[in-house]
């Protein structure tokens, strides 16, 4: 049957039926690799992931494989960060891409031992801000239409789900009305859940000011909510739909 499939196509052979395991067409066993030279930098299946520090160090020495691993590791976070700054998916994609390329060329200036993640995010956030400026507007963030829930939770009643959805939309409408700086602060702190040190590095401010800036952003958010007449409603639904 297999032979018949090949029709008279010269040179292109499927292994014939029933020739069992001893064919030359077999790939080598996993434990019996070919005798080729093994690259030191080659990642091997199943090995624990390298730390950022180690990957950065290798990338600085010219190991592009190591940088590739860093890109794979942080592409989601970089994209999310850029998206939270611009509010536009296309701009966020550009910004994340450009951020990774610029970070690669800036690696020589990266201080050994410093954390890579906030350093990268700072570059990405900066790219995202540039795009936001060019677009002359900040895209509104949106809440997912289909509300999923953490696995294991009991399905909320339709009323509770609707209420939760409404509460999120109300809160997001207020976040969208904040200044770019306030929104960035809130996004880094609460949406990306970065530490204070990481927020400081990402947004390029002193660590000591993160707390006070966050606090001021929250105050203004509260004011916007009150202005929307939603402060009370938020409070009520929060208590009603608590943990």
């Amino acid at each position: 049957m297999a032979q018949a499939l090949l029709g008279g196509r010269g040179g292109s052979e499927l292994p014939p039926h029933g020739t069992g395991t001893a064919r030359s067409t077999k790939l080598p066993e996993p434990n019996d690799p070919c005798g080729c030279i093994k690259h030191d930098t080659q990642s091997v299946e199943g090995r624990p992931l390298d730390t950022d520090d180690r990957l950065v160090e290798r990338a600085q020495q010219g190991d592009v494989h190591a940088y590739g691993a860093l890109v794979q590791r942080y592409q989601n976070l970089a994209y999310r960060t850029a998206y939270l700054v611009t509010g536009a998916a296309a701009d966020a994609e550009d910004a994340a891409q450009e951020g990774f390329v610029k970070a690669y060329y800036a690696l020589a200036r990266f201080r050994a031992g410093a954390p890579f993640r906030p350093w990268l995010l700072a570059i990405v956030a900066n790219e995202a801000r540039n795009r936001r400026r060019s677009a002359r507007r900040q895209g509104d963030l949106a809440v997912r239409v289909a509300e999923d829930r953490p696995s294991g939770d009991a399905a909320p009643s339709p009323e509770v789900a609707a209420l939760a959805g409404e509460r999120r939309r109300t809160l997001l409408a207020a976040v969208n009305r904040l200044s770019a700086a306030d929104r960035e602060m809130i996004a880094c702190r609460y949406f990306l859940e970065l530490s204070e040190a990481e927020v400081a590095a990402t947004l390029g401010c002193r660590r000591g000011t993160v707390k006070s800036r966050t606090s001021r952003a929250l105050t203004r958010l509260r004011a916007v909510l009150a202005e929307q007449g939603d402060g009370q409603a938020m409070s009520v639904t929060l208590e009603g739909g608590g943990e």
Binding site: P15, P33, Y104
Partner: protein, 279 residues
């Protein structure tokens, strides 16, 4: 509302924000890095200038989705030809960054004609029935549901390489499905489960041809519109020269934890239709 309540509400909001799926940033970065020289501390000024020059070339305004995709395709096509002259280091960058789980894509290098045989052997496993194949591999085997493709003409299974096994479907040539150059069969569909880290089970070497990033049921894939080199790698990522051959148009994509590959003389639309129908 207390500060703590507001903070809790914000964290909850963060978990429910709309994000489109992360676009294939790693692939795009690979393309960009492959276009440019590798950095070195001694050339910082030149590199910075090059970076600024590239920055000036960046598109300043958001573009519609379709237009952006078209640009991405062009960039990859351009790369395929431009990188021929690039340094091995930058080619390596592209090699590492492009690809899916278990698949490495190399761009540039010697053209496929120089390195690969036409119609080399297909390196299939043992001939089996679909049920036998299902029993021998450690992942759920999926089959096209498009009419005419529900029943492969032959099923091959290799239970050991890669670790969870691999299944190949063969469809014989027939009207509307000509024999494909490279395999001589109508359609070859391969599926396997790749490890979380790249395990380099296969690689495709792209000569001058087109490579397009596509989505299949929302997951990423690549469409190779033209002939390209193809070979299997050993577990250390070294090419197995005896497996090297010329492949025709090919779609590779991911589905759940599976990596799939479809090769045949079909249009991109046909390939996507078959791929998306697999259950």
């Amino acid at each position: 509302m207390t500060d703590r309540e507001l903070e809790r509400a914000l964290a909850d909001l963060g978990a429910h924000l709309e994000h489109s799926a992360t676009p294939p940033i790693a692939a795009a970065v690979a393309v960009r890095l492959a276009e440019a020289p590798a950095p070195s501390p001694g050339r910082r000024g030149r590199v910075a200038r090059a970076a600024r020059a590239r920055a000036r070339l960046r598109r300043p305004l958001p573009r519609p989705r379709w237009q952006r995709l078209a640009l991405a395709c062009l960039a990859v096509v351009a790369l395929a030809t431009a990188v021929l002259a690039a340094s091995p280091a930058t080619r390596e960058a592209a090699a590492r960054l492009l690809g899916l789980r278990g698949v490495r894509i190399e761009i540039g290098g010697p053209g496929p004609a120089a390195t690969t045989r036409v119609g080399g052997e297909l390196y299939l496993g043992d001939l089996a029935t679909l049920d036998e194949a299902r029993q021998q591999v450690r992942f759920p085997v999926v089959v096209p549901t498009v009419p005419g493709f529900e029943r492969p003409d032959a099923v091959y299974v290799d239970p050991r390489v890669p670790a969870d096994g691999r299944v190949d479907f063969i469809y014989r040539p027939r009207p509307g499905l000509p024999a494909a150059p490279g395999t001589g069969v109508g359609l070859l569909v391969t599926q396997f489960r790749a490890s979380v880290d790249q395990n380099f089970v296969k690689k495709a070497q792209l000569g001058e041809g087109s490579l397009e990033v596509v989505t299949v049921n929302g997951e990423f894939g690549y469409w190779f519109a033209t002939e390209h080199g193809f070979s299997y790698l050993d577990r250390n990522g070294n090419e197995l020269p005896e497996t090297s051959r010329l492949a025709g148009s090919t779609l590779i994509w991911e589905r759940g934890g599976l990596t799939l590959r479809l090769e045949g003389q079909v249009s991109k639309e046909q390939a996507l239709r078959i791929a998306e129908s697999m259950r």
